[in-house]
Symmetry: C2
Amino acid sequence: MPAVALTRIDHVGVAVHNLDEAVERYRTTFGLIVVAIETNADQGVREAMLQIDASDAEAGPHSYVQLLEPLGPDTPVGKYLARRGEGVHHIGYAVPDVATAMRGLVAQGLRVLDERPRHGSLGASIAFVHPKDLNGVLTELVQAASG
Amino acid sequence: MPAVALTRIDHVGVAVHNLDEAVERYRTTFGLIVVAIETNADQGVREAMLQIDASDAEAGPHSYVQLLEPLGPDTPVGKYLARRGEGVHHIGYAVPDVATAMRGLVAQGLRVLDERPRHGSLGASIAFVHPKDLNGVLTELVQAASG
């Protein structure tokens, strides 16, 4: 019995210097659909959610490329860019219930970075797990708004 | 009309120091299913493919966490580990036809790192795109064996 059952890869979060340029690149190169561009002051980012697989618009759930531009140098993504440059910032996996998943991980000794679920993109409830506990991967648990 | 239509996130490739430890961590923490552990001498790695969503074993196609341990320090993953430590090494996106996708990207001016498709995990045909052309993300195009 695992601590947490992941159901799919929800999104790949990519830190970028210029959100508008990156959105245009992913849109024209790969045909991704921009479903949201929003500012998340809590996390210090302006971000875009780009849906993969335009041909399957009626089916769900979808996976996304999430592009993240920091609101300033003293934000988590701003510090990441200064230290490592553009690249994958985190991976978001879907879970049925984020609060249950958080308890399961804590019980197994992993460090969950949030005390309670917080607001993510597209109305999701999310929590982050410490990258040192998962081979250097900052990992986000995502309970979709409709889930 | 995009250069390439991605259909889904096929896998997240994670560079690790110790494959067996990492496999055990992802298996017990998240209930992922180990579907293959193989050595790819061409790419200088021993790797494991871990399927996400055990509850959906009959449906497909699946997404995977791919764990990568270098065969030595002079391999691409070995150099990555020395430079950046453990973490996300690349993202693999599914495409219907990798050769067509490669031509589409080259026509759009992106640098495809392979002249022709090569062998990937689980019998797939793959090609890599230069990370500098996609906001620092080493990007793999994956045509599944059954595709």
